[in-house]
């Protein structure tokens, strides 16, 4: 077993042992054909919280080498599957381009962003990552490479967008980019006293801004339930910045790091309550026109490498769900239960999504999404199981890229088009070569 490694997700829970394999894009078909009975799954940078990028007893394909092409005249760029968004942004920004969708971390790969169909602060206007993929190369179970896109084998393309690697191995993709004048954002920050206020503000004002997200204090109760700091932004123009030196400097690598995993969880109730209180109080009532580097605006946590380690050896769980627009009452009820549970959670994230896309396993749908981090503990099960039931009753779902504990029986209700994904897999992977711990756990 010397060639095996232990893999876990960003939450550092439920590790399993698989065989890491590496290849260049040309070598992928060979690896796929020789995968054993426990199959193969492609892994990116391990930022999914749970188990979609690990494969107990089977092969785990590590990221393909970084390769970034030139930006074409139509603004598209081609990148290898293993290219991180950090590297891609570093290549794009000096050329005055940026990605239309960036998640909360730059340290995900292009293929990981597609396979999880990631979203960002722009979802209400730009949709998710998959909406900006022109085409992608996919090695299917037979070892054959298919180039697919929204107009080219759309069933296989959309099953792959959000498909968690279960349709094949993405080796490269062509992405649309947007023009930017600077590497800065013009940010407005607004402190809102309760959930009603923040929801009303997002409902009324989000459509007019490109980027919008709220940090919500999940420990505030009663009249302060859902008190938030709403952060919105636009790409800063050259005119606005004036003569600020180099306007297109890409973000740097993290300067700080958590060097090891402490033996105990350092995220405790008192500290978190104090932090949330301070964060809310220090936020301006309403400030506009603040200039922030894009990295500060989009990826504040990327400043500290390995921040997930502070949760100690038992790790963390992130619970992210969405409920449809008209189910705001469900959101209120769920937030009340989260607040009543008094679990130590740093500011959670609330976002109003725009419409979803055609991916049967793609997470976003028009409505409200809340992402909530808590230390992993067996006692969480009844709370989160109860929230799942309410999310299902409201016609919503949880995000599989964050999930590490959903009961398999709820998946079809959350993802009613699950059978479409299964039908595509039946066609391109009848023997289920592509498998992960998540696909076993959720019986996909």
């Amino acid at each position: 077993m010397s060639d095996s490694s232990t893999f876990h997700g960003w939450g550092r829970t439920a590790p399993s042992v698989g065989r890491p394999v590496t290849a260049t894009a040309n070598g992928v078909p060979h690896l796929v054909r020789r995968a054993g009975p426990r199959g193969l799954i492609a892994r990116g940078l391990g930022r999914s919280y749970g188990d979609p990028a690990q494969n107990a007893g089977g092969d785990v394909l590590l990221p393909l080498p970084t390769e970034i092409g030139a930006v074409a005249a139509d603004g598209t760029v081609r990148a290898s599957a293993g290219t991180s968004l950090h590297d891609l942004m570093a290549a794009l920004l000096p050329r005055g381009r940026f990605l239309p969708v960036t998640p909360g971390t730059r340290y995900v790969t292009v293929a990981g962003a597609i396979a999880c169909d990631v979203h960002g602060k722009s979802h209400h206007r730009a949709g998710s990552f998959g909406a900006h993929v022109v085409d992608l190369d996919l090695v299917i179970a037979s070892g054959e490479t298919r180039t697919v896109g929204p107009d080219r084998d759309p069933d296989l393309f959309w099953a792959t967008v959000g498909g968690l690697g279960l349709t094949g191995v993405i080796t490269a993709a062509t992405l649309r980019t947007i023009p930017v004048e600077t590497a800065y954002a013009e940010v407005s920050t607004q402190r809102l006293p309760d959930l009603d206020a923040v929801m009303a503000e997002m409902r009324e004002g989000d459509d007019a801004v490109t980027y919008s997200v709220a940090w919500i204090d999940t420990l505030a109760r009663g009249a302060a339930l859902g008190r938030s700091v709403l952060s919105r932004g636009e790409h800063a123009t050259r005119e606005l910045l004036g003569d600020r030196g180099d306007l297109l400097t890409p973000p740097a690598a993290p300067r700080l790091a958590v060097p090891f995993t402490p033996p105990v969880n350092l995220v405790g109730s008192l500290g978190v309550r104090a932090f949330n209180e301070a964060w809310f109080r220090k936020a301006p009532r309403h400030r506009t026109g603040e200039i922030q580097p894009l990295a500060t605006f989009f990826h504040p946590l990327d400043g500290v490498a390995g921040w997930n380690r502070v949760y100690g050896p038992h790790g963390l769980v992130q619970y992210q769900f969405v409920v449809p627009d008209h189910e705001d009452a469900a959101l209120v009820r769920i937030l009340e239960q989260i607040a009543a549970a008094r679990l130590p959670s740093f500011l959670a994230v609330l976002k109003r999504f725009g419409p979803g896309n055609d991916g049967p396993l793609s997470f976003p749908m028009a409505g409200w999404t809340l992402a909530y981090d808590v230390p992993a503990h067996p006692d969480l099960a009844p709370l989160l199981d109860g929230l799942d039931d309410q999310v299902v009753a409201a016609g919503g779902r949880v995000y599989l890229a964050k999930d590490s504990r959903l009961r398999a029986g709820l998946l079809p209700a959350m993802y009613p088009r699950l059978d479409e994904l299964r039908a595509v897999r039946e066609k391109v992977d009848p023997d289920r070569v592509f498998r992960s711990d998540l696909s076993r756990r959720l019986e996909i």
Binding site: T6, S16, V317, P382
Partner: protein
């Protein structure tokens, strides 16, 4: 798969009519969707166990299992189709202490059920879990194995051997994704101990079940039930034999 909160989906109970095994599976079944492979001798007791687990919400699959028939163990473990998230080695016999060291057949039976059979299954389970790349073996040992005493030394020595085997197996499996949890209960009030006077620090099957559920979720490799037993046994272990002989144990 075990999920992030340590909840299994599929559990194999070896000695599936054991009170402790059933109480453990019930706890898991109450907190999630659970599939139980109930390996036990066919008959009324197994049927009753299956019904009890179904009532707590589990899906039950019964398979025939005879601890002493070690030759059948490899096939039994191989034939289970689902990934085994947790295997509980829960069978054992207490026997009649005085008969056990004087009646040849009784001694061999006790040693086979309590030591040879767990070793046989341990080897099969280890191979299976290594291939899976994940899974936990829960071995029900006993404090009786920590310091073997005159009053039940055939039983105690078999548990000492079994305990040592599974602790060693846990070490051998490090890095494979499979792990072992050795559970050392003190006196447990179950059908196995029915009619005997409970010893100090005695517990119920459900106390042991709670400790197993917690130990599996927490990634532990050894738990004592109750936890205070660890201190007690650690003291007893170092009592000189001449004195130990005089203790009312």
């Amino acid at each position: 798969m075990l999920n992030a909160l340590g909840q299994p989906q599929t559990v194999l109970l070896l000695g599936g009519t054991s009170d402790i095994a059933l109480a453990t599976a019930e706890r898991w079944a109450r907190s999630g969707d659970l599939h139980v492979v109930l390996a036990a001798r066919p008959g009324e007791r197994r049927d009753a166990a299956a019904t009890r687990l179904e009532q707590s919400g589990a899906v039950v699959e019964a398979v025939d299992f005879e601890a002493e028939a070690t030759g059948t163990h490899p096939t039994l473990v191989e034939a289970i189709e689902r990934d085994i998230d947790v295997a509980v080695v829960a069978f054992g016999v207490l026997g009649d202490e005085e008969q056990a060291w004087q009646d040849h057949a009784a001694a061999v039976h006790l040693a086979t059920v309590n030591y040879t059979a767990p070793v046989s299954l341990g080897v099969c389970l280890a191979a299976r879990l290594r291939k899976q790349g994940h899974g936990v073996i829960v071995a029900l040992s006993s404090v009786a194995g920590e310091r073997v005493r005159r009053s039940n030394f055939v039983y105690g020595s078999s548990k000492a051997g079994m305990d040592g085997f599974y602790l060693g197996l846990g070490e051998a499996l490090r890095g494979t994704g499979a792990r072992v949890l050795v559970v050392r209960p003190g006196f447990v009030r179950t059908k196995m101990t029915e009619g005997r006077d409970p010893a100090p620090l005695s517990v119920d099957a459900d106390d042991v079940a709670a400790a197993i559920v917690k130990g599996v979720a927490g990634g532990d490799d050894l738990v004592w039930v109750p936890a205070a037993m660890r201190g007690v046994m650690s003291g007893l272990r170092h009592v000189p034999r001449a004195l130990f002989r005089k203790l009312p144990l």
